[in-house]
Symmetry: C2
Subunit: 625 residues, 2 copies
């Protein structure tokens, strides 16, 4: 990724230029007093293509979440606890860092109201702000006498001289072997949901929903196997908006049945990506009085406002988002296979590290490269699922740290090492964090690690009723840390796609959300509590876990219970555990988990003839007493 | 309370009459197809005066929460898990019970949309529906082509022949000894908050906020020491709307400085209760263009809509609600005293029960009466804080059960007995639940009790960072039950007033809320997990607990930690505990708790010369090993 150095980006000149265009009638009818630069693209993607990294361009901060606001006098960036350190290092002092989640930090709205002169206009590109955010921001500003205005030309693009072009990579088609359902089956099921709710059209804007629906993948956005597209699904229409030259490949044409559709209602009409606005206008113009159209309330303000209010049904989660979250048996099997291969690569990595670290030549970057090399040897490897977080000592406290030449530390026997990494395989997506010490950890490091482990186990072993929302489990991950006055400033888990985005909705485990959908058997989330001490070290233990039915002694009101099955099968370093702090139940969990690692990954290491890694695995999975 | 029997109320004739007035042009301009009867009064009180029990009048169900909706064809009542059994017993089969919280239960909006003919009008009394509920309901109905209309005459009152008059009881004035702050100090502090937020007026509609602000109490609503009133507070005005004859008492006139105000800005202008609408209109008419007025978004739709949108700032919790929730040292001391006296009464009660039960003459009602008698012997007793829940065996599964002659069971050596009771004292409010067995509980009963106890302890002993919202602690109370496939269908805790309502916001411990305010030292909540088996028994263990700072080993980011101190000091029956299921930490908690009960309540029993209760206390607080 085109990541800048950890030294701050100098933004004096850029801010001067931006403030000039904010008053330039060539781009806006009336001068604006503030300009909002959100993080996302026109699809509200979390990870974005280089051409969409506008917020990074203007302020230098390149984390995955953050909003910049520039006024005539000020420039401020809001981001969350994962990025406080990183953002403060990447931005120069023209920028104020707004630490979200701290009591004293104002919201964007409150801050704007406090700094703006009376009757100000605040501009934003309506394509990259979500409809629900537009609504809240607009309401707050109006109530204070200001107004939010849509600026059609993106003002960052205006001053961004060498902005990259929008990518248009080759599409990959996925067969039943990987998807379990044809795209035709998925469209039909979707139409069933639409009919149930008397909805005649659905505007699909999220890239991963489009990729999942059509059983297609791309590589337009690094780490996320998606492609730029929109879709509008009607009860007898399928309109796909995508760069047409991507549909020239015979395998894609055949997959989508473009030349010989089997049924009229399963015929895909193809349009250029850019024509979605006009085509949606045309569809809306032809709507009957009572017809309703679904669009996600996180879709862009620009597209949402095309749909007349009377016809618009804005929903927090689309039926595709929900269908995609509950993995079918083929997808579950694929995810299991992907995690086995991924564990093989990591066992190799750790065995290699033990040998190499004493030589003093292993660095954060070289481990990340080695991990990628080992993963790429596994079958159906496609790429990484996110930039590898490979961090030694104090770098571990930067929650979403990526090693760069200027920050690159050497692994040693004296410091904690944290590696959070994952890959995309044709059969599934992985995401795993292990925190290890190659020498002798201090008692304090072990104590903190053990609290994090207790939290990890508390979630992983939790039994809870059907219908429970993931956010209700978040505190289980924190209880042991809280008891000692510790905590971590991020959520405990996120949904994970199947050969799709490593972060996906609508479920997760976080105190920050309330509107998450209840957990269901077949959903897949991460379980990743942590503890971070700025300037010293970072600890995180992450497994990807599958929601499965739980057998319980009783069954209150026949509701049934759920629990988690770890898909990640990589040993948790015993050396880091203060076993005195574990309960017997927790010790049993660790031993059971390690037994499963040894059996499942051991068999695969054996099959692949990876002797050294197998020896390492067997040694690292000895039961604790 | 004028509670009906547990046999269903016959509603055929009433529903016929209501459906007639729904079409009668004397009361409404156009016929309505549905009429909503909410639970509350014009102040959105939880407990209401007999004249406001309209929902009970129409359907028979008299629980504290529930909404009735009558259409031309249907009649349905929505209530939550505490009341499923009770509601099904109190309503005849003209009514459909809508069990809130179950997946299959439609929301009121969805149900209305599914049963109404096209373009229907749904009526509601705008004084007894909260503004935020009106907004949501109105939006949902409009999106389906219907409309929500305000019906000025309450249609239940029209058909309610012998409707009681609105009470106007004598006011009690509270001095500094009980309140810690004069009403003048409270008004000044409130104005400070208003100035901070540039608010020039605040319309106070919640009865407990008015009582707290003016250091006055009443008895208009049973169990809740409040009085019917409104207040409008400006930066230099105090307008109080209350039945004027209540202000004739010299002690009240002096307390409020009605005849000789000390300062002009602390002069109270008194108006009749009914004139709030017109006076608010007058205040609004005189507002300067940018002036803002606070009103709670739970205030009545009628009053909220008087304030022009441009001037209205609707807030989820008022500053009075927050200030009232954080008890000052005088209030904390008062609450502690109240709980000591209350524990004395309960120790007496349990010692008496042990002697009396074998005689076979003790019933649910006679225990409730005895408990009230014993409490009334304590200093500054005012009354009960809610109807005593006194339930034997299967009656215990009715979460908010009140014994009635028809349902009254005799206490025996064979069934579990649950008593949830509390009182109002001049110095504080109590609320305590104990579940006991006077013979030999079954293993299963003990197992369930022990899971509930583990949940109670998990909350009571929880340590959590400053700024944590109570809903994040709810799952701690359930974990032990969930592990065995059990659960309970109510929240874990509610805020408790100080000689005020036994249920108050804005804090609590419940999975159902998200917008609760963070817990702070000085807040007081209940901790009351339970387990209920329909037709068999109910278990609940409830203490009132005070939020206090916690001492922790570390202090992450200097945030500080909080925990709870039990104010309730009544032994938890050891006989019901399966100590094998407790961890050592849990055993220590029980022993520490019982030691505190013995020391604190023992001293008071000694002082009051209550020898038998003291013996009982000492026996019941032996340490477990």
């Amino acid at each position: 990724m085109a990541a800048d150095a950890m030294s701050p980006k100098i933004t004096v000149e850029l801010l001067r230029q931006l403030r000039q265009v904010m008053k330039n009638s060539k781009y806006i009818t009336e001068p604006i007093q503030a300009y909002i630069v959100p993080s996302g693209d026109a699809h509200q993607s979390e990870y974005i293509a280089p051409c969409d990294c506008r917020r990074e361009f203007i302020c230098g901060f390149n984390g995955s979440a953050g909003t910049a606001i520039v006024t005539e006098q000020h420039a401020a960036l809001w981001t969350d606890g994962r990025y406080f350190l990183q953002a403060s290092q990447q931005m120069d002092n023209n920028w104020t860092l707004m630490k979200m989640g701290l009591k004293e930090t104002p919201s964007q709205e409150d801050w704007l109201i406090s700094v703006l002169p009376e009757n100000s206009k605040v501009g934003v590109d309506p394509w990259i702000i979500a409809a629900d955010q537009w609504k809240n921001m607009s309401k707050a500003l109006s109530s204070a006498g200001h107004s939010l205005v849509a600026v059609q030309d993106n003002l960052i693009d205006v001053i961004w001289e060498d902005r990259p072009a929008r990518p248009s990579t080759k599409l990959i088609t996925l067969g039943l072997k990987h998807t379990g359902l044809t795209w035709q089956d998925k469209v039909t099921a979707l139409r069933g949901k639409m009919a149930e709710r008397k909805i005649s059209w659905f505007v699909v804007t999220a890239l991963d929903e489009i990729a999942w629906l059509f059983n297609l993948r791309g590589s337009d956005i690094e780490y996320n196997p998606v492609f730029f597209a929109y879709a509008i699904i009607g009860m007898s229409n399928i309109k796909l908006f995508v760069d047409r030259k991507r549909l020239m490949e015979p395998v894609v044409r055949e997959h989508l049945e473009l030349d010989s559709p089997s049924k009229p209602e399963l015929t895909i009409q193809c349009f250029p990506y850019e024509s979605v606005y006009m085509e949606l206008q045309a569809v809306c113009a032809a709507l009957a009085p009572k017809e309703k159209m679904w669009i996600c309330d996180k879709a862009s303000c620009a597209l949402t406002q095309v749909i007349p209010k009377a016809h618009r049904s804005a929903i927090p989660y689309t039926p595709l988002c929900l269908a995609k979250a509950v993995k079918n048996p083929t997808e579950i099997q694929g995810m299991k296979m992907a995690h086995i291969k991924d564990a093989v690569a990591l066992c190799e990595l750790f065995a290699w590290l033990e040998k190499e670290i004493p030589k003093g030549t292993v660095t954060e970057i070289s481990v990340a490269d080695k991990a990628e090399e080992l993963r790429s040897q596994q079958k159906d490897f496609v790429g990484l699922s996110f930039p590898t977080i490979s961090s030694v000592g104090p770098n571990g406290a930067i929650i979403h740290y990526m090693p760069l030449p200027e920050t690159n530390r050497t692994l040693s026997l004296n410091e904690i090492y944290l590696i959070d990494s994952g890959a995309q395989y044709l059969d599934g997506t992985t995401d795993v964090t292990r925190t290890v010490h190659f020498g002798t950890p201090t008692d304090y490091e072990k104590e903190c690690f053990t609290y994090v482990l207790k939290g990890h186990i508390a979630v992983s072993a939790a039994v809870f009723p059907n219908g429970t929302k993931g956010h209700l489990l978040d505190s289980f991950a924190r209880a042991a840390l809280w008891d000692s006055g510790l905590d971590y400033l991020h959520g405990t888990g996120h949904g994970v796609g199947c050969f799709l985005n490593v972060h996906e909705g609508p479920c997760g485990i976080s105190y920050k959300t309330f509107a998450d959908e209840p957990l269901e058997a077949g959903m897949i989330v991460s379980d990743e509590p942590g503890y971070y001490e700025d300037g010293s070290f970072g600890i995180r233990i992450e497994n990807v876990v599958l929601v499965i039915p739980a057998k319980t002694k009783y069954n209150y009101r026949n509701r049934g219970s759920l629990t988690f099955e770890p898909l990640t099968l990589v040993p948790i370093q015993l050396k880091m555990i203060n076993t005195d702090l574990l309960t017997q139940k927790e010790r049993d969990w660790v031993n059971d988990y390690h037994k499963k690692c040894r059996e499942t990954i051991g068999a695969e290491l054996e099959r692949q003839g990876r002797k050294e890694a197998l020896d390492w695995l067997i040694r690292e999975t000895q039961p604790i007493v």
